[in-house]
């Protein structure tokens, strides 16, 4: 028997792996010391645990543990990377290059920096959600200090050509930051091979706890520095003050360790399940895949079911937890800017559903989801005036819709 509801919103957050949770518990109740306390065993134990976890966290991205700055999550890591570089490298230039489909933590940090005098280029993506290396090459100017391009997109799962971008930045002496929140633990990421100078990631997207993340800051070739955005006790080599979240860090470390061991087999298994789900749903009439079909995370798919509105659809599949790019699910009443940036009609953006599988997803759950979504789409199309018009051959673009 499968347990309902089914959780397929794993790009939003994941369940903490029980092995991670087990590793964390002693640090709440017994070994609760402050990792910065040098004068007693409580502190030493905590410090030891943090050191060990930091090794694991570094290893999953091919870094050295000295290059890991612990933060509260990827939002903070992104802010620290962008704002910290802006301040630290002000003498070198003020131009940043990023992409229109980045996470809000990048886009809004850029908006903030623009108010402080930064010049930011927001590059558009193609209709498959991909950025071309040539676009970045053309955008680099003498005053460019940083290029920030996400590793994999949170709404589409599309993987950007990070290695090529990294090589380009290196060649031009420009720093390269990547928000790898969705990629780390799901696909191999290597800061050396990918020529990455700064990298953000977070524990809760990879079966770790919420509220802990890291920023990788390269120490050699070149040595990169960021200006602290949080002042205080000078923790994390002065780049991020604040008593370390020992339990969170221990869990993050364990999550990285498990991911390193299981990523390959898990990715292969999830790809098969994801493809099964995707192929079955795309068999429906007027269902479209959003984003590049190949360059994509193995556990994510984003599909638009034309003539059906996303939130209405989610209500019809209440036993399956997913998310939608529909405006009706957002406070701003604007459909997903990521989907709009692919050049998708607003109408298709409203009709999109993102499915994100996890380590815990079973084939039975996927079979159930296929049936559930197919039935709901069919039912809602019977209720949809747009579907009726489509079936009658009426071009929806020819209708004068009332202003809203």
């Amino acid at each position: 028997m499968i347990k309902l509801p089914i959780y397929l919103d794993n790009n939003s957050t994941t369940k903490c792996d029980p092995r991670v949770f087990a590793e964390m518990t002693p640090f709440f109740l017994e070994d609760f010391g402050n990792a910065a306390s040098k004068s007693h065993a409580f502190g030493w134990k905590a410090e030891e645990a943090v050191d060990y976890a930091r090794e694991q966290i570094a290893k999953i991205i091919g870094a050295n543990s000295k290059e890991i700055i612990i933060t509260s999550g990827a939002t903070e890591s992104n802010n620290l990377a962008l704002k910290g570089v802006f301040e630290m490298y002000a003498a070198k230039g003020n131009h940043f290059i990023t992409v229109s489909t980045e996470h809000k933590a990048i886009l809004d940090a850029c908006k903030h920096l623009e108010k402080l005098g930064a010049e930011v280029t927001y590059l558009p993506v193609g209709e498959d959600g991909m950025i071309q290396v040539s676009q970045i090459k053309e955008a680099i100017k003498p005053n460019t200090v940083l290029v920030s391009v996400m590793y994999a997109n949170n709404e589409l799962g599309v993987i950007q050509p990070v290695r090529e971008i990294g090589a380009l930045c290196k060649e031009h002496g420009v720093l390269f930051h990547t928000d790898a929140t969705q990629a780390v633990g799901k696909i191999p990421v290597d800061v050396l091979a990918d020529h990455i100078d700064l990298l953000s990631f977070t524990a809760h997207k990879m079966y770790g706890p919420k509220g802990v993340g890291a920023l990788y800051v390269r120490r050699k070739n070149p040595r990169v520095k960021v200006t602290a955005q949080m002042d205080g006790g000078g923790h994390e080599r002065g780049m991020r003050s604040g008593t370390l979240n020992v339990t969170g860090i221990v869990g993050f470390g364990k999550a990285c360790e498990i991911a390193m061991q299981e990523m390959e087999a898990e990715g292969a298994r999830l790809r098969i399940l994801r493809d099964k789900l995707e192929n079955a749903l795309l068999q429906m009439e007027e269902a479209y895949l959003n984003g590049h079909k190949e360059h994509r995370l193995p556990h994510t798919t984003n599909i638009s079911f034309k003539y059906v509105e996303g939130e209405g659809l989610m209500m019809g599949i209440k036993d399956v937890a997913v998310s939608s790019g529909s405006a009706c699910t957002s406070a701003s009443l604007e459909p997903s800017y990521v989907l709009k940036n692919l050049g998708l009609d607003d109408e298709l953006a409203h009709s999109s559903i993102r499915f994100g599988l996890s380590r815990f997803t079973t084939e039975e759950e996927i079979d159930f989801t296929i049936k559930c979504v197919t039935d709901a789409v069919n039912k809602l199309r019977e209720m949809s005036p747009l579907w009726e018009m489509f079936k009658e051959g009426i071009d929806l673009k020819s209708i004068e819709w009332s202003e809203h």
Binding site: G312, C328, L333, H350, L386, S402, E403
Partner: protein, 137 residues
């Protein structure tokens, strides 16, 4: 945000889904909203000789609250005269369905659809369309 039981009920068992003959002089059709906005409602009324709405049908592309608002509207319309139908206020729909503030516009759409259907009926029958105060979107 959780949906109210009444929204769930109308969503799960929508009343009066369907299509009436748009060409008939007895039928008024209101099509409001826009696909780009994520909500389109089509509401139709069929008016009898005695001036009473004897049939009402809808189809809606939109969220659960929009579907429920239009389903409820068709229920309320049946058996009313045109004048009575014109009195249906979106806030009554909000109250009946316990819609949260972010879903008020779904009820506004239903009210607009009712008025648009009535106007279509009036025009077909040689009457002036009513001046509709532009509702608060």
């Amino acid at each position: 945000m959780a949906y109210s039981e009444k929204v769930i009920d109308h969503y799960t068992n929508p009343r009066n889904i369907g299509t009436l003959d748009k060409a008939s002089a007895q039928v008024g059709t209101g099509l409001v909203g826009a696909p780009e906005c994520g909500d389109v409602m089509r509401l139709q009324i069929q008016v009898g000789e005695n001036g009473i709405i004897e049939e009402a049908k809808f189809k809606t592309f939109g969220c659960g609250s929009a579907i429920a608002s239009s389903s409820l509207a068709t229920e309320w319309l049946k058996g009313k005269t045109i004048d009575q139908a014109l009195e249906i206020d979106n806030m009554e729909i909000v109250e009946e369905l316990a819609l949260p503030p972010v879903k008020i516009h779904c009820s506004v759409l239903a009210e607009d659809a009712i008025k648009a259907a009535i106007n279509d009926y009036r025009v077909k029958n040689g009457l002036e369309p009513l001046e509709l105060e532009k509702s608060h979107h």
